[in-house]
């Protein structure tokens, strides 16, 4: 046991209020220096939780537990190297505080600058480049959780697991040939438990359904005219581990009539995946078609194609053309109702990316641009992410450029985080707390 851990072990008795909360102890995680596991008791059966008060007044809390008299919780959300007071809390009482200090980040973590006030969301986000890791950033832009991926694989997406026990991330390679040893990795909050779901040829993105079913983009090779052609499919992983292909690019598109525009990357090169709000549709970004596809989850049918490839859309899929101000080689997007927000990597040409929003007119089959944010010189030739908040702000992740902006509707960047040279970001998943699903 390290000296640091010994110093961080402590306990309290007593407290205040009608409910007595006693025996609070807290251990720093050996795997993640910013995470603490605490135990305490209450004299009555009551839900209880942890509150950590930082020196700057911020309060980091765990969710209330289910009740009982013996309590345990894992506290996530603390910045590194930070003094704080930890209390166990219940309706009607709180324990005596423990004075603690969070540990130091490993030197392998990316160096971040900026942040501060102006954002209220936590980011589940990969670090790529000089360090490869799954991270959680605080609303102030600090690393509050981390897990290093030390294999020759990259991390493209990090998500909180729906069961509330930790984090899922993808360990894959989309550079050149996909990796045979790619997998989805689940890391418990304290980093002590790591479970994996091997999925060969994993591509950029995955989602998780409320029942724990995972769905991911997987590279699929098929023979086409005597040559092996690289397409994509969607694979679901049921909670019991069963893997099922529920859609293939070959089901909707013909390489002869829809060859894609950059064969060096393969045929379709699907690169971003979302679920519809009701969970009945997958929304899939297809880079080489510069299009976004709606797929019926139950049947695998292609419902609608939006974007530059739309004019050549096959079968019965509806078509929404983007005739004016097209997006090109896009990555993450947000499709809700008649609104499409896109991280557009190359639609403006040159070394310039943007976030662009379209209004979809399904009757007319057209999409009209209604908003964009394109600061000079910000270019992410791959990856990139967008998220619209309820207050109208937009969170934009310029992945390769190593920058995250929170931008108001009038185009003012009110919060920015940057990486130092050599580090970049993957896709971002935003939540109001580490324990809350997006």
């Amino acid at each position: 046991m390290s000296a640091a851990l010994l110093l961080l072990l402590a306990c309290t008795d007593g407290g205040k209020g009608d409910v007595s909360l006693d025996g609070l102890t807290a251990d720093q995680s050996e795997a993640i220096a910013t995470v603490f596991t605490a135990s305490w008791t209450s004299d009555v059966d009551t839900p209880s939780w942890l509150e950590a008060t930082l020196a700057d007044g911020r309060v980091v809390t765990t969710p209330a537990d289910a009740g009982g008299t013996d309590h345990q919780a894992v506290l996530v959300g603390l910045p590194a190297s930070t003094d704080f007071e930890l209390r166990a809390v219940a309706a009607g009482g709180e324990s005596e505080p423990l004075a603690l200090t969070s540990g130091n980040l490993p030197q392998t973590m990316p160096q971040l600058s900026g942040g501060g006030e102006g954002n209220d969301q936590y980011a589940f986000i990969p670090a790529i480049g000089s360090s490869t890791a799954a991270l959680i950033l605080s609303p102030q832009g600090e690393i509050v959780w981390y897990h290093t991926e030390s294999r020759e694989l990259d991390v493209y997406r990090v998500r909180p697991s729906v069961d509330g026990t930790g984090v899922w991330y993808s360990a894959a390679s989309v550079s050149g040939d996909p990796a045979a040893d790619s997998e989805l990795v689940h890391v418990s909050w304290d980093g002590s438990q790591i479970d994996t779901v091997p999925i060969p040829l994993l591509a950029h993105d995955f989602v998780e359904h409320p029942d724990g079913t995972l769905a991911t983009i997987v590279v699929e090779y098929r023979d086409h005219g005597g040559e092996e052609l690289r397409g994509d499919k969607l694979v679901e992983v049921a909670p019991d581990g069963t893997q099922t292909t529920i859609w293939s690019a070959w089901d909707c598109f013909d390489p002869d009539t829809a060859p894609g525009d950059e064969p060096v990357l393969g045929w379709t090169f699907a690169n971003a995946l979302d679920l519809s709000p009701d969970g009945t549709e997958y929304h899939l970004g297809i880079r080489n078609f510069s299009s976004i596809l709606r797929i019926d989850r139950a049947t695998g049918a292609c419902l609608e194609v939006i974007g530059g490839f739309a004019a050549d859309a096959p079968g019965d899929a509806d078509v929404i053309r983007v005739d004016d101000d097209e997006f090109e080689h896009q990555h993450q997007f947000e499709l809700v109702g008649d609104r499409l927000l896109v991280f557009d990597n190359e639609g403006l040409g040159g070394q310039q990316s943007r976030a662009v929003e379209y209004h979809l007119d399904r009757d007319a089959g057209t999409a009209e641009p209604v908003w964009e944010y394109a600061p000079d010189g910000l270019y992410s030739f791959v990856l990139g992410d967008v998220k619209r908040m309820d207050d109208g702000d937009t969170l934009i992740t310029w992945s390769v450029a190593g920058e995250i902006d929170r931008v108001t509707a009038d185009g003012t960047a009110e919060w920015t985080v940057n990486t130092s040279l050599g580090s970049a970001f993957g896709f971002a998943t935003w939540t109001p707390s580490p324990y809350t699903l997006p």
Partner: protein, 318 residues
């Protein structure tokens, strides 16, 4: 496409040598608090050679003349150089890139592209058209142009992009140039630093220890740039028999290869460390100051671009 674009010029070089024994002493109780007044000062420039070439076409790049690195240490251009990387800075001038390298203030957003060539350790030339990144080749017509920005060529030991750079050169594609060959110069002269080890306040160490140092209060490095204490990744303690601080200042770039004894400690985080945990090449732990000469303490940022220690001071018995 994989995105590692680090430009860590010297990860394990300079005064501090890396070892495999990590230090995790972030919560040690320190008895020696380092201050800015104890830090050395250095000044000078990083002058990166510029070679104009033709634009939008392949260029032959040769490195047979790189027999010294940027610290003027001898190198075998055939054996020691493993990778040639080319980074593009879309909106920065060459002067701004140089300044960013000196002050460690370049951001990833400044970088707009990277390609590389792994050497074969037999030839010392390569065509730019053969540069690529994870299978994606450079598109010379659109990505190597006069308007494309500032291009920095980095010759490294090891193949991790930008890590352990031994020589750097700007390429300057011009529409009116027909030069299609670049002979990279040796690195001696790129760094022109003058160090002052005499004006600082010395760091006092007791004879018997403990020697737990704390650098959390440092605010500037020797160059005067902002210093983030969390950036310190390693330290070392060196003894230079018969040398004065003034003499050592003139050998600033050789401090890691001339000590009589060198004790090193890699850090895994934190703002404090026990010097007794630093060990020499034979595994012997630092046991205090002795001998006739000068003892130096260096703190290094292994992820910074500038190879100079962020903190360097003289140790004396108190």
């Amino acid at each position: 496409m994989r995105i590692p674009l680090p430009l860590l010029l010297v990860a394990c070089d300079g005064l501090v040598a890396c070892n495999d024994k990590g230090g995790d002493s972030g919560t040690l109780v320190a008895n020696i608090t380092l201050t800015d007044d104890q830090n050395y000062n250095y000044s000078g420039d990083m002058t990166v050679p510029i070679v104009q070439t033709a634009s939008g076409v392949s260029v032959e790049i040769c490195w047979s003349d790189v027999d010294q690195d940027i610290q003027c240490h001898a190198k075998d251009p055939v054996v020691d150089l493993d990778n040639i990387g080319l980074a593009r800075f879309g909106t920065l001038t060459e002067e701004e890139v140089e300044t960013g390298l000196e002050t460690n203030e370049l951001l990833q957003r400044d970088n707009t592209g990277y390609v590389e060539y792994n050497t074969d350790h037999s030839s010392t030339c390569a065509q730019l058209e053969d540069f690529s990144f994870f299978g994606t080749p450079i598109d010379l017509a659109t990505e190597y142009t006069e308007e494309g920005g500032t291009y920095l060529l980095m010759l490294t030991e090891g193949t991790e992009p930008g890590v352990d750079v031994k020589m750097i050169t700007f390429l300057d594609p011009r529409d009116d140039s027909d030069n299609t060959r670049v002979d990279i110069e040796h690195g001696c002269g790129v760094l022109d630093f003058t160090a002052d080890l005499e004006s600082l306040e010395t760091v006092g160490l007791s004879t018997d220890g403990p020697w737990v140092i704390d650098w959390s209060g440092l605010t500037r490095d020797g160059f005067g740039s902002d210093l983030r204490p969390d950036d310190v990744t390693s330290l070392n303690v060196g003894f230079y028999e018969g040398k004065t601080p003034a003499e050592l200042a003139t050998q600033f770039l050789d401090l890691e290869i001339i000590p009589t004894n060198l004790y090193s400690l890699s850090l895994t985080g934190g703002n404090s460390a026990d010097l007794a945990a630093a060990v020499d090449a034979d595994g012997n732990a630092f046991s205090g100051l002795s001998g006739d000469g000068t003892w130096l303490l260096a703190l290094r940022c292994g992820r910074c671009y500038n190879p100079a220690p962020v903190f360097l001071s003289v140790l004396v018995v108190e």
